[in-house]
Amino acid sequence: MKQQIIVSGIGGQGVLFLTRVIAQVAVNRQIPVLTSETHGMAQRGGTVLSTIKIGDFSSPLIRTGQADLGLLLWDANLEVHKSLLRDNGTIIMNSSNNGDYISIDAAKIARDLGNAVLLNLVLLGAAIKARAIDFSAAECEVAIEQLAPAKFVQQNLKAFHQGLSC
């Protein structure tokens, strides 16, 4: 398995957590993985980008036109980051609009669950459902249970399942 993924959003949306969950699944499968993340000032509500490279890679960074999959938590970032994706790359987008991508109103689903921040895992659920990442739902659940603080595990799993089932 070799896959390059970008996760794009704004600071505070849970881009880092989503990145870690995906990378953790790879670790659990004993596949090499590298990620890069945005920290520091940009985390204060600015545009943030994570990259994930699963498989035999050396560097965590992704070149223009090389990403297989884009998970977009903030639709305005499409114009900023789409150049990283392959021509036939898959985009899964948190958006209430339709476009040239797989669209899911993850923010609304998360809000209905009681917390807009859960949209990251709703989006992951949608990505697994669309078979955009070759991970099983059960593998993702294990990673979520490993990484989420105990009192938020159930809420996080619920968000993930909502994404899986819509």
């Binding site: 990378a23 990620t35 965590p60 900023v80």
Partner: protein, 608 residues
């Protein structure tokens, strides 16, 4: 724990490596991208096999000196900082090169090519060349961890401080990393007096300098630290690629994607200074053309002095910013005469960062700007740099500079005709302790007439909430003595000191005006306002303050003041209907925006 694999951030991998190598003293001042190194040691301190002293020091100079003395007692120690932190620690760092260490000492200095979260792109490897200190440039989180124990060994063999220089893309990358058991060194503190070293006067320094030069020559030929060759198949004769740090990793992936792996001799430089003389000689003899890829300054290039180098000095490689895979692709394509990469679309800027919804700094800045529309506003390093967005920050330089710059502005204006604009300096609590106190004393004794607003949010917010000296809590939640700000300010000679929560805009603006009257009065001087409100990233702060349902009603006239001038990310314009709207996903219900509206259209009700 044998063979256990964990997903670790580069900084966590380094922290884990420090524990496994038997490091017993770790001191740091937080700064992106270095912060999580010591945080990781704190989080894993229970795994330490031997006693471990951890501290968030007041600044980097202090962190370095604490770790240095730890090494003098024979124990392994580390000081951790970001690249500009090394400027603060430069004084002890430079002298340590001559005097050396006893127990292994590492200085971990995280560089920030880009930069992503720094005031410059300075290269610690070049700093080390000037300081004459060996420096290691790891290419991945796992490699950074692997190199820690050998780096301590090297430090102990030559009794020299050794620098490990990760960059942002190492620090903030995650990778599957193998964990090991901490070694047990069983060292008791044993400081052996040696005045010819530890308090060397000029008389001893020529000999120490000579020893330093001798050590550097020996380190440069150490077998374990020689550049690593991945040989090509001779399809590109007399041509080589040389890279270090994460740039090497970027290059490896790029070569593979282009189908060029193992077609050209490729060297990874682990230790850019002191550079191996046999490596330099090999390059001079075996190759006519060499592409050198390194971040950020041409450190390897300068030492190679090879006429066939394509790099930063002859324009073959971009000199500014990160050597991202796309940038390397362009340089490599030009060097090997490959098809150039497709034209990249114009870079688009994403959303700019801003102070968090409910951040009390926003309220303070809004009031400052409102009270003194013609003021001069020096500010400093931290979240509050983002006061830029509100037009309430005019200068940002380096830690603590705002108070001295504010005083300098005053001196320069007042000497013309005695008149001066109101200078309002803003400085965070952690920055105030770090480098603000000497500057405040200086402003007082030089009789500057300025207003200093200490933005006290009770934490080091920008780097993720490390403890500050006035809260009585040290690294890892340890209870300690609190050194409070107000008496410090008073002892610095300030006679006008007031404290206020900037959420209370009426009171805060009244105090600002009183402060302006004071600095302009006979016998006036420095006025200090302490704007006190906890960081809203702290759940305890959020829990303790009122949470209202804030909405905007039909009275809104679409003046945009709340959106543009107050600039809360939870407020946006509905451009179609020309009214402001509250984004309930982001609003924390602090109600701080209510006084900003000129027509009282922002309203609150208690949240059920």
């Amino acid at each position: 724990m044998e063979n256990k694999i964990e997903l670790l951030m580069g900084n966590e991998a380094i922290g884990q490596g420090l524990l496994e190598a038997g490091c017993q003293v770790a001191a740091a001042y937080p700064g992106t991208p270095s912060t999580e190194v010591v945080q990781a040691v704190i989080d894993r301190r229970d795994q330490a096999a031997e006693p471990l002293h951890l501290e968030w020091s007041v600044n980097e100079k202090i962190a370095f000196e604490v770790a240095l003395a730890g090494s003098y007692t024979g124990k392994r120690s580390v000081a951790v900082m970001k690249q500009v932190g090394l400027n603060v620690a430069a004084d002890p760092f430079m002298r340590t090169a001559y005097l050396g260490v006893k127990g292994g000492m590492l200085t971990i200095v995280a560089d920030d090519p880009g930069p992503h979260s720094s005031q410059n792109e300075q290269d610690t490897r070049l700093f080390c060349l000037q300081a004459r200190v060996p420096v290691i440039d790891p290419a991945s989180p796992a490699e950074a961890k692997e190199l820690i124990a050998p780096a301590f060994d090297l430090s102990e063999k030559y009794e020299m401080n050794v620098v490990l220089r990760p960059t942002t893309r190492i620090c903030h990358s995650r990778q599957n990393v193998a964990l090991g058991e901490p070694v047990v060194l069983e060292r008791n503190a044993n400081f052996v007096q040696d005045t010819s070293r530890w308090s060397a006067t000029p008389a001893f320094l020529p000999a120490l300098h000579k020893k330093l030069n001798h050590n550097l020559e020996a380190i440069a030929v150490e077998a374990a630290w020689q550049p690593r060759l991945t040989a090509g198949d001779n399809s590109q004769p007399r041509t080589a690629l040389v890279a270090s740090g994460v740039v090497y990793s970027n290059l490896v992936d790029l070569l593979e994607e282009l189908g060029l792996s193992n077609t050209i001799d490729l060297y990874q430089v682990l230790m850019p200074y002191p550079l191996s003389p046999s490596f330099t000689q090999t390059l001079h003899e075996k190759y006519d053309r060499i592409l050198v890829l390194e971040e950020t300054y041409p450190v390897i290039e300068l030492q190679l002095a090879h006429p066939g180098v394509v790099g930063k000095q002859n324009g073959g490689v971009v000199r500014e910013g990160e050597l991202l895979p796309d940038v390397i692709h362009e340089a490599l394509a030009a060097f090997l005469d490959l098809e150039p990469p497709a034209e990249k679309p114009d870079e688009r800027r994403g959303q700019r960062p801003s102070l968090c919804p409910g951040c009390s700094h926003r309220s303070a800045f809004y009031s400052i700007k409102k009270c003194f529309p013609k003021g001069i506003f020096p500010s400093d390093i931290g979240c509050y740099t983002l006061g830029l967005n509100l037009g309430a920050v005019h200068t940002v330089h380096c830690m603590g500079a705002c108070i001295s710059q504010g005083a300098g502005f005053y001196q320069s204006y007042q000497q013309d005709d005695g008149d001066f604009p109101t200078v309002v300096v803003t400085i965070g609590d952690s920055t105030f302790f770090h480098a603000g106190i000497p500057a405040l004393i200086n402003a007082v004794i030089q009789q500057a007439r300025i207003i200093v607003v200490i933005l006290d949010n009770a934490t080091t917010a920008m780097t993720g909430g490390q403890p500050v000296p006035h809260m009585g809590v040290a690294a890892g939640g340890k209870v300690t003595k609190a050194v409070t700000i107000e008496p410090l300010v008073q002892a610095s000679g300030v006679d006008f000191i007031k404290t206020c929560d900037p959420y209370d805009n009426v009171k805060f603006e009244t105090l600002l005006k009183q402060a302006d009257d004071y600095i302009r009065s006979d016998g006036g001087g420095v006025a200090v306002l302490i704007a006190q409100h906890g960081c809203v990233m702290d759940p305890a702060v959020r829990k303790a303050q009122a949470i209202d349902l804030v909405t905007i009603n039909a009275k809104c006239i679409g003046c945009r003041i709340c959106v543009d001038k107050f600039e809360c990310p939870a407020l946006y314009m509905d451009e179609e209907n020309k009214v402001a709207v509250v984004d309930q996903d982001r609003c924390i219900g602090c109600s701080a925006c209510i006084p900003v509206c000129p027509v009282d259209a922002i309203i609150k009700e208690e949240k059920s």
